[in-house]
């Protein structure tokens, strides 16, 4: 599904990613962990096509297709979804209106007509029930005055609506209390299939108790310095990152 080869990226001439290699196959869940500032969100943004970041070397392939020349919205149309660490506010645009616009933009790109209102409403009802989202919430302005947890839940709601091939969840667990975490994780698990893949960016083991990763990677200083199975996450939880830093910096 996703292949990243020797990816180097910088922002304002400051190198941030320094040679990332990663392969994610359909049906897999990968966790990316690592200390603050190591480049996790940058990696997510670069995959999603944020123009601020300059890709200096390497390539990103989605199902064999090089993403280099594709704008962010075109990548989204191909099934890449990013749950933002810091979702932005759009005053006056309701959650419903926003997701409707997103879905119909993607359908249009695929040469499909707008989704009939009836189907849209049905889908919104199903997905919001799955994530235990109140109907009133859906008519509020996107992310305006949302609590941290509401923002994250709204991201997963959008993911559920858009049914992506590759979902990257950037610290979706932070800001969630334990009940919300369970609901969100259940949602993600329900959306998982053998045809799609999930990349979880997280600091904490607790999310991985709910969504079982197949692989765990440690990102440090712009490189993946260690990869392993779920046990690696436990080890990090216990020992922190210092031993990894020492290993790398030695």
């Amino acid at each position: 599904m996703l292949q990243i080869k020797d990816l180097h990226a910088s922002v304002e001439d400051k190198p941030i990613l320094r040679g990332i290699n990663l392969e994610v196959k359909a049906g897999e869940v990968h966790a990316i962990m690592g200390p603050n500032g190591s480049g996790k969100s940058t990696l997510a943004s670069v995959i999603a096509g944020k123009e601020e970041y300059e890709v200096e070397k390497g390539e990103i392939l989605l199902n064999g297709e090089d993403l280099e020349d594709l704008a962010a919205e075109e990548r989204a149309h191909k099934g890449i979804f990013l749950s933002f660490q810091y979702p932005v506010e759009i005053p006056g645009v309701s959650v419903t209106n926003f997701i409707k616009t997103a879905i119909n933009s993607t359908r249009k790109a695929k040469g499909l007509a707008d989704m009939p209102a009836k189907d849209m409403l049905k889908m919104i009802r199903e997905k919001s029930e799955m994530l235990e989202i109140d109907r009133k919430f859906l008519s509020r302005s996107l992310n305006v005055g949302f609590s941290g947890g509401e923002k994250k839940r709204n991201e997963i709601f959008q993911m559920a609506m858009l049914e992506p091939k590759l979902a990257i969840l950037d610290e979706t667990d932070s800001g969630l209390d334990i009940d919300a975490l369970r609901i969100v994780a259940n949602g993600v698990n329900k959306l998982k299939s053998k045809d799609n893949a999930v990349v979880l960016i997280t600091h904490y083991q607790r999310l991985l108790d709910y969504i079982k990763p197949d692989f765990v990677h440690v990102l440090y200083n712009g490189r993946i310095v260690k990869s392993g199975g779920p046990e690696l996450a436990h080890e990090l939880e216990e020992k922190g990152y210092d031993w990894i830093k020492e290993e790398v910096d030695a």
């Binding site: 989204a76 759009i90 005053p91 933009s105 707008d114």
Partner: protein, 482 residues
């Protein structure tokens, strides 16, 4: 207006040019350029006006000659040469007394392009419409239906003939001829416009609507609108404006007077889309407009405007809250792009007790444009318990445009409560990226953000206009973020 579907909207979005920039080749009768007493007399004669009207115009002309063009607004432009403009232009083939079937087919084709096919209007039965092309009102629909309720809705030129007592009683009482330079000019030379009278206790059953269009080159448009809502009546009135794309700056100086007698309510909505000039700042309409309404006891006037067009806009729809418990509202969206300049806002003059006013202004600036809100809230010494709430929000796109807010408050009564809130925000790259990531392209993302920003005002417009206004916002801002 015909219904716009989402597909139409998308189709429109592909057109980068000013959409209404066509010129219709209809034979027209235009007066020689220049302005003097003889021209004023000639206009009055052309309109078959009674003596009092001619005298009123001549008086206004005298006043105008003694006045200077104001320059306190935050706009820069080459002052028009008032002797280089023709003050009267009428599509020749049209006799206002004929029915629509007799109307010049070219003109009907023009309405089609404007999206206001009169045939459709007839069927739609919800909007009665008057259309003023250049200086003459060419068609008034629904006269009969309205007539049964005693509602008068006709070109003001006809009203002067048919209802001189009403026109004479009210014209110039809200915007006196000497009110300001452009109002004086308008009073001297106005050639047409709409007149509307709603009798006591009557709720007008449909939206009344006027569509203004400048067609001829080298002319100015000076229309005059007078709306009188008698005691306990209600009317919702809409006006729309377009003009062809021309390199010259055309002058539009209108006057609108509203009178809401005791317990009456007037809702006045405008979608202003005069030609804004091109992306180099060449051409475009100078839109210098005086709009004012008077509220008697318990009366209410709401101004809602969506201003997307014109090279220069100078416009402050205002309310004089004379009667106790009267209410004034001003809801505005002003969009400027490229080299457009807008200085717009309102005046709320609280004279009566317990008077209330609300001001919501949304300014959107893009390109190298300048967008100013200028508002006055004045509370007279006898206006016990006056209340005002003002909110002015500015949205900036890019780094080369400007947004300015000039709120003036004059409170002469201690019991007054005046609240003012202002915000300025910028469409951020993060917002756009967020939308992009969800599959929404940048153009659509901007439209979404702008519509969200303008929602409080868009919601105040009647349905058909809201859709058109939304579409206009999108077109006006196309290509404004790189």
């Amino acid at each position: 207006m015909s219904k716009y579907t989402e597909d139409d909207l998308r189709e429109e979005l592909k057109t980068k040019e000013y959409e209404y920039g066509f010129y219709t080749d209809i034979e027209s009768e235009t007066f020689p350029i220049g302005l003097n007493e003889d021209i004023v007399r000639a206009i009055s004669k052309k309109k078959n006006e009674p003596e009092w009207m001619t005298a009123w115009r001549l008086e206004a002309f005298k006043v105008w000659q003694s006045m200077e063009e104001p320059d306190w607004a935050n706009v820069n432009y080459k002052k028009p040469d008032f002797q280089a403009i023709a003050y009267y232009s009428a599509p020749k083939a049209i006799d206002p007394n004929k029915t629509l079937d007799d109307v010049d087919p070219d003109l009907l084709a023009m309405y089609k392009k404007l999206g206001i096919s009169v045939d459709e209007q007839k069927k739609m039965n919800n909007v009665a419409m008057d259309i003023v092309v250049d200086s003459v009102s060419v068609a008034t629909t629904f006269k009969k239906t309205l007539g049964e309720k005693g509602i008068i809705f006709m070109p003001i030129s006809e009203a002067i003939q048919e209802h001189p007592e009403l026109v004479r009683k009210y014209i110039g009482t809200i915007v006196p001829t000497k009110d300001n330079f452009y109002a004086a000019l308008n009073s001297a030379v106005f050639s047409d416009g709409s007149f509307c009278y709603i009798p006591k206790g009557v709720k007008c059953p449909m939206e009344l609507s006027t569509y203004f269009r400048i067609n001829e080159g080298g002319t100015g448009q000076f229309e005059r609108t007078l709306v009188i809502a008698d005691e306990g009546s209600y009317v919702s009135y809409l006006e729309g404006c377009t003009a062809p794309s021309r390199d010259e700056n055309q002058l539009h100086a209108a006057v609108v007077e509203l009178i809401a007698l005791d317990d009456a309510e007037i809702k006045y909505s405008t979608v202003q889309n005069w030609y804004p000039g091109n992306d180099k700042g060449v051409g475009g309409v100078y839109n210098f407009v005086t709009k004012r309404g008077l509220c008697e006891k318990n009366a209410k006037i709401s101004w809602t405007q969506v201003e997307t067009g014109s090279a220069v806009t100078w416009k402050y729809p205002s309310c004089i809250l004379k009667g106790d418990n009267s209410v004034g509202e001003f809801y505005s969206i002003a969009v400027t792009n490229n080299y457009q300049q807008a200085d717009t806002g309102t005046k709320m003059i609280h004279l009566g007790k317990n008077t209330k006013s609300t001001i919501i202004s949304k300014g959107i600036s893009a390109g190298k444009s300048q967008n100013s809100y200028r508002g006055l809230v004045q509370v007279g010494s006898r206006a016990e318990n006056a209340r005002n709430f003002s909110q002015c929000d500015s949205l900036l796109m890019g780094n080369e445009c400007g947004a300015h807010t000039f709120p003036y408050i004059e409170a002469n009564n201690k019991s007054a409560m005046i609240e003012h809130e202002a915000t300025t925000s910028k469409i951020g790259e993060d917002q756009i990226f967020y939308c992009n990531q969800r599959g929404i392209d940048t153009e659509k993302a901007i439209a979404l953000i702008v519509n969200g920003f303008s929602k409080d005002v868009l919601n105040k417009l009647p349905m058909e206009f809201a859709v058109e206004a939304q579409k206009l916002l999108e077109i006006s801002l196309e290509g404004s973020v790189g």
